[in-house]
Symmetry: C2
Subunit: 406 residues, 2 copies
């Protein structure tokens, strides 16, 4: 199935900077897809540190379990990240564990790294045996092709139902030295927070201790990838890995500008995943304020963002704010009909338990016709706030998912 590029896609893939100390390659291994790359390798020099966050699914894949075993180890021996698309190696039992071991062993031998420094991810269909021989037989080619400028190739190789590759970057000057950050991600179905909901790989040449990088990654993940939802379904394979090579020589420990730059890259990639949500034609920001707590605000926001009725109304460009009222009402968090207010963009739609006197249907309809929609809800009970991002639910989502395996 070949899909048209999402109408919400960025105009072009960004020109990613070289991250000193890390090289990339991609090959065609024929795992499931034909005539396209489906395996990527990233090799980080010695002195690099790796941090990560992973799906909390109780049925997570062998690859995720293996990464989780390794992520907390301190080491300066460098690291490799190998990712395949086309098969998620999830729910493949002990065979899946064996596939991960075989891949790590082969990559370790080819790169001189211990297997504890080889991280893997897999994305695609669940429950089918991963033909890992097709991957291990290509590891030599992957190592031979490593190149500091090939991160864009890696972004292509990890796509599944994605309609465009996703990349983002930031560069900042710290004390006269340039620090670079570059990342790639893939979506685009089975996307819901808890945790990150996709595959994401981000690299920087900044210098930072592993534990500090891990704290940074966990914190920013909570404000970015954990705030997006396409279809409320959490993947068994979600993985975010961030590597810091240190080769800029710039120590960024506690540096606010660096944290802001990382946040910008995370948020950009998270938004790109939503923009490539299966069948998406609308990019929807749901901003909830005035809740009893931030947690309540997040519960309301996700209830709105995951409501099939809200999402189909958006698809139909229908300013059907009654469905937003219903989504707030069902969320389980505290709300009061008579203190609630709702805005589409800047248009006040409802307040004091009813449609606003000033509201004209054509103003709401005009906002819904935009490709980017903002739903603002003030609960009117406190100071809690949360923003999440989602897309609409369209015929194309059904088409993609009713015959994904066929």
């Amino acid at each position: 199935m070949s899909l048209p590029v999402s109408p919400l896609a960025p105009a072009s893939f960004p020109d990613l900077p070289v991250i000193r100390g890390v090289r990339f390659s991609a090959v065609e291994a024929g795992i499931k897809y034909q005539n396209r790359t489906d395996v990527m390798l990233a090799l980080l020099d010695s002195g690099s540190v790796i941090a990560g966050v992973f799906t909390r699914s109780a049925t997570r894949s062998s690859n995720v379990l293996d990464c989780q075993d390794k992520i907390g180890l301190d080491s300066d021996q460098g690291a490799a990240i190998l990712v395949n698309s086309g098969n998620s190696n999830a729910f493949t039992g002990r065979f899946g564990d064996g596939s991960v071991a075989a891949i790590c062993e082969t990559v370790g031998q080819a790169t001189g790294l211990p297997t504890t420094r080889v991280f893997t991810s897999a994305t695609g269909v669940i429950g089918e045996r991963l033909p890992h021989e097709r991957i291990t037989s290509k590891v030599g080619d992957l190592v031979a092709a490593l190149d500091a400028t090939r991160l864009d190739d890696a972004a292509q190789a990890i796509m599944t139902t994605d309609t465009f590759p996703k990349g983002s970057k930031a560069q900042l000057d710290i004390g006269g030295q340039t620090v670079s950050i570059a990342g790639i991600a893939k979506g685009s179905g089975m996307i819901a927070p808890d945790m990150a909901t996709m595959l994401v790989y981000i690299f920087t040449d900044a210098k930072i201790a592993r534990a500090d990088l891990q704290a940074l990654v966990s914190r920013i993940n909570g404000q970015t990838f954990n705030c997006i939802t396409v279809d409320s379904d959490t993947s068994t394979s979600d993985t975010l890995l961030m590597g810091a090579t240190g080769q800029s020589g710039v120590d960024v420990t506690g540096n606010a500008a660096f944290e802001e730059a990382v946040q910008q890259v995370f948020l950009d990639l998270a938004h790109q995943v939503v923009r490539d949500g299966e069948g998406a034609t609308k990019f929807i920001t749901v901003a909830v304020t005035g809740a009893k707590s931030d947690a309540d605000a997040r519960t309301h926001a996700l209830s709105i963002a995951n409501s099939p009725l809200v999402k189909t109304a958006a698809a139909g460009e229908d300013p059907n704010w009654g469905r937003i009222v219903a989504a707030v009402g069902k969320s389980g968090a505290v709300a009061d009909r008579d203190t609630l207010s709702i805005r589409f963009g800047d248009v006040l739609v409802a307040e004091k338990g009813w449609v606003a006197d000033s509201y004209r249907e054509e103003d709401g309809a005009a906002h819904m016709k935009q490709p980017e929609i903002t739903i603002q809800v003030d609960i009117g009970l406190g100071q809690g706030a949360a923003t999440v991002w989602t897309c609409d639910l369209t015929h194309q989502y059904i088409s993609i998912n009713a015959d994904y395996r066929s």
Copy 2:
């Protein structure tokens, strides 16, 4: 928008028995729909008792709030139930409260009942002023037309996006006397448990105290209407009312056969609501066993039943059991990849953390081609069990909901 009748509809509307002591009528009030009835009235003789369960939505309608105020009162003065379709009178602020008061006042005057014995429901679009004058001006006609045989007319009048009217009945012999039960319901979108998720009216000529009827209704509701989900969206208007006139003269207090008959009617109506789920082409039973607790089993079952990926796979007749694994994994209830087993109908698909040795894809595919699908999941960790019912997610759901108001 005129919709084809659901392929899952029963062959015909049942021939409902007369319930001694209650009469029905329906009229065209032109609230929103044209050329069809849109208001029903049920009038129960003095000596009747009424019980009910209602949506827990924090933004529930004025009608629901008013019913909740009245439902616990003991009275033997009889009762009236007036229901309109086309407008839910939800999120219409104090104006909505006024509409309910006006309708209750008019019905009270026309029937000689105090307003505390008039119950109302409304279903349809949220947030638009209910033109209640169109209803009150027809109350005289409604009272004049009351007839013990007109429950089927009432079932027609409360339909919104329903493609068929929903009725069910049971009759049983208790000590040589016949006790009758007859009920009607409407669905069919914004259906998710918490509570009942639709409008349901059930009548019996059995004799039972109000408090006992209420306990019975609450208990059986938990096993029937609270176990269905179409789209995970909870309505602001959900109401179930059951009236017992006592005119059979048969006291059913604590009678197990009566409880079983009531359960049969509730379950039949609940299944009919799922069979008329917006766009449904598959009736799906999700049965979870072996969970740590019944509550965990229900959490897993609803996670499967509400997963858009599971529901679109069913629409595509794809035995994509990997999505069931993912839904169990994300539910938040306890599960273990290696003790889980999955069956489609009688076909063992997966066990011990992987696809079953005996599984052949064509067997799973054959089951998915049936209009009625059973997904059985054994968690393998305890004795908890739960069964829920849902339907698939199709293009037609998108079509219905992307332009419902247009």
